[in-house]
Symmetry: C2
Amino acid sequence: MAIADSLPPAVSNAMTIRTLRSGENLFRQGEPTVGIYEVVSGVVRMVRIDREGNEAVVHVARGGDALGEATLFTPIYHCDTIATTRATVRLYPKALLLSEFKRDPKFAEGYAAMLARQVMTLRTRLERRNIRSARDRVRHYLVLSAGRDGCTVQLPGTLIELAAELGLTHEVLYRTLARMAADGEIERNGSVIKVKRVV
Amino acid sequence: MAIADSLPPAVSNAMTIRTLRSGENLFRQGEPTVGIYEVVSGVVRMVRIDREGNEAVVHVARGGDALGEATLFTPIYHCDTIATTRATVRLYPKALLLSEFKRDPKFAEGYAAMLARQVMTLRTRLERRNIRSARDRVRHYLVLSAGRDGCTVQLPGTLIELAAELGLTHEVLYRTLARMAADGEIERNGSVIKVKRVV
DNA sequence: CGAGTGATTGACTTAGATCAATGACCGTGG
DNA sequence: CCACGGTCATTGATCTAAGTCAATCACTCG
């Protein structure tokens, strides 16, 4: 899902970098679309703003995330994007991406495949949010994140980040993991979790 | 997002229909992928099953939903798909879709655009689930679902369906809407909601 | 060393879930 | 035609799991 690797040189060579102060707009509703962004560092949020000035957050992108994949296919932006912190982004120009799609169907197919995979994982994450119980939600995550052996999970980041991904507070996540360990359902070794059995 | 309309005749003519009994498998992990499905009626769930036989639901598709867009780009299925109720699905064969992508780049681009739009709306729905308060969640939905005038929302289905979409019980949704109406934040006329002001 | 972050646990509160009941409405089949 | 079963909308009472606030410890980094 890292974007730069999969781009042909023609595109990645044309990449430009932009740095944003906290609160600065990356683009505004109504402006012509210019390409796909990748957040290098910091946090950037896409928001729709209604007539009263209320923000409704549409997406929050952090380091490594891509931004505005759909703008390749629309002439103007339909929302604002604002830096939540100081942030650095890379821009891959739209015209070049589109012409590269034409020139190299293999690349276009790869791009579509990447989008399709994203749709899948997003659906899965959304499905997980339909689970009310914290424990069941954690279980869902563990089952779907298990490695080759089907029962070992290597946690990617901090537990605080995982809690946010699961839609829980970190305190609840700690307690839930502690209880699962106490019940013998999992075993923890730092950032590795082994699923033993389901109680 | 209805799939059939956007397909070229070469593909939609090759569509086949299959009916599933409740509990019947549409496909199983490890089987070769055959194409994109569209659920006509009933409910179908994609699940990953671990070694102990626990199901982790990856996606639930209902009438009108597409299924398995990512399987166009992978040789075998990575999960099981099972009918939750009696269900009817349409199959659009993979080989034909892929060859049509080659033959008609415009179609391929349209398909990628559809996926990109889906990524966007999924991100938005997921973002909404990060909002803890029921009222704020409803507000988020209303702001982003307002029609051209920016303040009128036509509810698409029943409130029960909307509650599920928002990740709330229907009781809580009723109460929240009632409170918002009592506070003068919204006005309701059957399935039309007018957002007045934010309190 | 001190500030900052992550991990963890305890005590307490609350918003949302759950259970329950009611009325409106709609289709349908006798 | 009307009674019935089903679904939806709505509200009340109650419960509980998750959120919130707070404190502690370990660790790292400049």
